[in-house]
């Protein structure tokens, strides 16, 4: 059993990764969370559901991970007073998720210290909750001004700089409130929710196949990771295993997504220190990868390539040759560019020491994914819980302990080369012929499944609950940005204002993925 607790009875879920589910009482929530926390585990996701149609009240769901695997716990809550004990004192990262769960569903943490709204701006009234099944979908935009109490920093010479949500560049909207003295940043407070699209509500009226399309659009740069996690969750409920060829192709897509995004980020990081040469060189390479995607798989970003039960795109033998050539090109070029970045005194001066998160703080904050690995947080789903075909690939995890921009750059370089190696190996092992997908039309009634995939940014989790007819009752997509956005607030402390864009870019977190 992954957790030992007298009141906890877990059942193992079918599927590609080691996962368990169980029901607990609200009173057991804190002890179990503390148990997992003390054992080195982390909170991955927190969401709620409206189970009143099944004769229950609401429910809180949390996904925890420790060295054994993924543990999904449900806490039934009474309809009259849907409250649960606060867990943000154990996992600080739960704070925003708890507030979002209130905004969307009206379940709340009592004794919580922070009850400010998170995802709600003015699109619906404070007393109504969109994810409740009896929510009136008629437009109910409020006219009251969107007030949000930012934490004030006081002291001589302290002033605030408000940036966004509209920025000077073409980037996603988010508001950053800096408290500064001169150029030195004392505090940053983030405010998001500007790209809230009601994705979770939209899932409820969708079929399994439509849901796959939507899952692939939660955060466009991680479309493969989301689509795979969604498919993995559905396959876990239906207890089916996709054909071998489909799994190998999925891994190929996921690594190609990682390659494209790492190339793009490395270019952006050069651009942010005004080394435009690096920017254009990396983006020429990224464009090459995207064009190959478009030519071979029908979509530059590989959207809709993965479907429940398999894949929708195939790779013919001539295509393999193209990808082998691409691998050689990238390995050659990136090696040269890495040399330039590492030997450029001006670039290294900007990278080293900027936006540092010490490993201890990273562990406390539950930093995950790429940014976590740059701060000694050795979590990589592909390594720890290798689903097929990663169980045959022996992925090398890249970790560094400096936790600064330079470390996040090195991790990207290392992972880029590792992904290229994996791509070569996948191509070599991908035998011609074989089925691409199994039919998976409908899910069993009242099922629950979870899928977790290591996207380029970190672990992407999708949880699916089905209703009594086997339709999607609740789908929760979780982006690693939930974990890492709060860490950015710590990373910038003591740095100077003009270094913020660089530090922010070194994380490159998703707005859309966490605003939902």
């Amino acid at each position: 059993m992954p957790i030992n607790h007298p009141n906890l009875h877990l059942t193992q879920l079918a599927g590609a990764i080691p996962a368990w589910s169980g029901k607990i009482k609200p009173d057991d929530l804190q002890p179990i969370c503390r148990n997992v926390h003390d054992g080195g585990g982390r909170l991955v996701a927190l969401w709620g559901s409206d189970d009143r149609e099944q004769g229950n009240g609401y429910a809180l769901h949390i996904a925890l991970v420790n060295e054994a695997g993924l543990i999904c716990l449900s806490v039934p809550l009474p309809a009259g007073q849907p409250a649960y004990p606060d867990i943000s004192s154990i996992f600080p990262v739960a704070n925003r998720m708890q507030r979002a769960a209130y905004d969307l569903l009206g379940i709340y943490a009592h004794e919580g210290r922070d009850h400010r709204k998170w995802l709600r701006h003015g699109a619906w009234h404070g007393g109504s909750f969109p994810l409740r099944k009896d929510f009136d979908p008629a437009p109910s935009r409020t006219d009251d001004a969107d007030s949000y109490p930012f934490v004030q920093v006081e002291g001589q010479g302290v002033h605030e700089i408000a940036v966004g949500p509209v920025h000077a560049g073409t980037i996603e909207p988010g508001h950053f409130r800096f408290s500064v003295v001169g150029e030195k940043m004392l505090r940053l407070e983030e405010r998001f929710g500007y790209t809230h699209k009601g994705i979770e509500k939209r899932f409820e009226s969708m079929s399994l196949q439509q849901g796959e399309k939507l899952a692939g659009r939660v955060s466009g740069d991680s479309t493969v990771a989301y689509a795979w996690a969604y498919a993995m969750a559905a396959e876990s409920i239906a207890a089916v295993t996709p054909p071998d060829r489909a799994l190998w192709l999925r891994a190929l897509f996921l690594e190609r997504e990682r390659i494209a995004n790492h190339l793009g980020d490395l270019g952006y990081l050069g651009n942010d220190v005004a080394l435009s040469f690096g920017f254009t060189q990396f983006w020429i390479l990224k464009e090459q990868v995207l064009r190959n995607n478009g030519a071979l798989f029908g979509h530059r970003y590989l959207m809709d390539s993965i479907i429940p039960g398999g894949v929708a795109a195939d790779l013919a033998e001539p295509g393999k040759r193209t990808l082998f050539e691409e691998c050689s090109l990238l390995e050659r070029e990136v090696r040269v560019l890495r040399g330039i970045y590492e030997e450029h005194a001006g670039v290294q001066d900007r990278f080293i020491g900027a936006g540092r998160i010490e490993p201890r703080l990273a562990a406390q904050l539950g930093l995950c994914g790429l940014a976590g690995r740059a701060s000694s947080q050795a979590w990589d789903t592909r390594v720890q819980f290798p689903c097929a075909p990663y169980d045959q690939l022996d992925v090398q995890m890249a970790t560094y302990r400096n936790g600064d921009v330079a470390a996040r750059v090195i991790v990207r370089f290392d992972e880029l080369f590792e992904s290229l190696r994996l791509q070569r190996e996948i191509l070599a092992r991908l035998m011609p012929g074989g089925q691409l997908s199994l039919p998976l039309e409908k899910l069993p009634a009242l099922g629950f499944g979870a899928g977790m995939v290591e996207g380029w940014r970190g672990e992407v989790l999708v949880a699916i609950h089905t209703d009594k007819d086997g339709n999607l009752a609740r789908v929760h997509p979780h982006d690693p940005s939930w974990q890492n956005w709060p860490a950015l607030e710590h990373a910038i402390m003591g740095n100077i204002v003009p270094d913020f864009p660089l530090i922010n870019k070194s994380f490159n977190l998703s707005y859309s993925g966490q605003d939902l």
Partner: protein, 324 residues
């Protein structure tokens, strides 16, 4: 009665004034085009700044409701200052009627005047970015100005005059003589040029990251004709700085009004061709320098400009020690 030399001088003065206004955006376009080539991009072409100016002059200006007269007047003042500076620098000929005004100390003052106004205008609206930009601009310029003065003084020592035309005359007569003191001053001048014209590694004219901007942060609130004038003034400033650099360190080929009274028909085209060639080379060199460097952390700027000051002082010392 006006002598023919005086008439020619006035004619040349008018000609040079119009020439710099017309050519300045071309230089900016050329630098941008070179940058694009060095980055493996095709680039928008050298005429792009003119298209931008045309577009901006056709737009309606949007001005913050709390903007004062200072905010509206600043683009004109800045444009006027930069035009004046570019017009009095000996670019195609020395001995122009405005020459006595081209005192290097006055020139530094003209640049400072423009800077004071743009910094005040940036703070006038009261946005965080304007103030941020103005503060940083002052940090950069209070260090750049003394370094620039020291560069000028080194050149003045050789020619025994602070008037640019006299300096140029003195230097241009000693064909291809290497002054060790000027070599140091030249290096210092390049650093000051980068800092004062918002170029990499001090500022990035192409950035969209509002938190990192210096010059761009100050002009964020400007639009349409005001922005056009500010942009044009920036082009003029770059043109003026490169002209000063050429005048001090590569004055060869410049025409002298007195000497070419008889044959100005041949000396003037030669001077213009020499100017264009030097500008093309200087623009390309600037682009190359920018392509190779990354932007430095803003608190490194004092060290960078301190180096410029030190180099200029070294130049001065070497002049005293070697007499050259």
């Amino acid at each position: 009665m006006m002598s023919s030399n005086q008439a020619l001088g006035i004619l040349l003065q008018i000609y040079q004034s119009l020439l710099v206004v017309a050519l300045a955006p071309l230089l900016t376009g050329w630098v941008n085009q070179c940058r694009a080539w060095l980055q493996n991009r095709s680039g928008p072409g050298v005429m792009q700044p003119y298209r931008t100016l045309r577009k901006l002059f056709h737009k309606d200006a949007v001005i913050a409701y709390n903007a004062s007269l200072l905010f509206r007047a600043t683009p004109y003042i800045r444009f006027g200052c930069m035009w004046l500076a570019a017009a009095i620098i000996p670019i195609i000929a020395v001995d122009l009627p405005f020459s006595p005004a081209a005192d290097v100390i006055a020139l530094v003052g003209v640049f400072a005047l423009a800077r004071v106004f743009i910094a005040l205008a940036a703070m006038d609206i009261g946005t965080a970015f304007g103030t941020l930009g103005a503060r940083r601009e002052m940090l950069v310029s209070f260090l750049a100005e003394p370094a620039l003065l020291m560069v000028f003084f080194t050149a003045s020592m050789i020619s025994h005059s602070t008037q640019l035309p006299r300096i140029v005359e003195a230097l241009a007569q000693h064909q291809f003589v290497l002054y060790p003191s000027l070599a140091f001053a030249g290096l210092a001048f390049v650093i000051v040029l980068l800092a004062e014209n918002a170029r990499i590694p001090v500022d990035n004219p192409a950035t969209h990251l509002e938190l990192t901007m210096i010059h761009e942060a100050m002009i964020l609130e400007y639009s349409a004709r005001h922005l056009a004038l500010v942009e044009w003034a920036s082009s003029l400033k770059l043109f003026a700085y490169i002209s000063i650099g050429i005048a001090l360190f590569l004055p060869y080929g410049i025409a002298e009004v007195g000497a070419m009274a008889g044959n100005w028909g041949s000396a003037l085209p030669l001077a213009i061709i020499a100017l264009l060639v030097k500008m093309v080379l200087a623009g390309a060199a600037l682009a190359l320098l920018e392509a190779l460097l990354a932007k430095m952390r803003i608190f490194r700027t004092p060290e960078f400009l301190g180096t410029a000051f030190l180099l200029a002082v070294l130049g001065l010392l070497i002049h005293f020690l070697l007499g050259a």
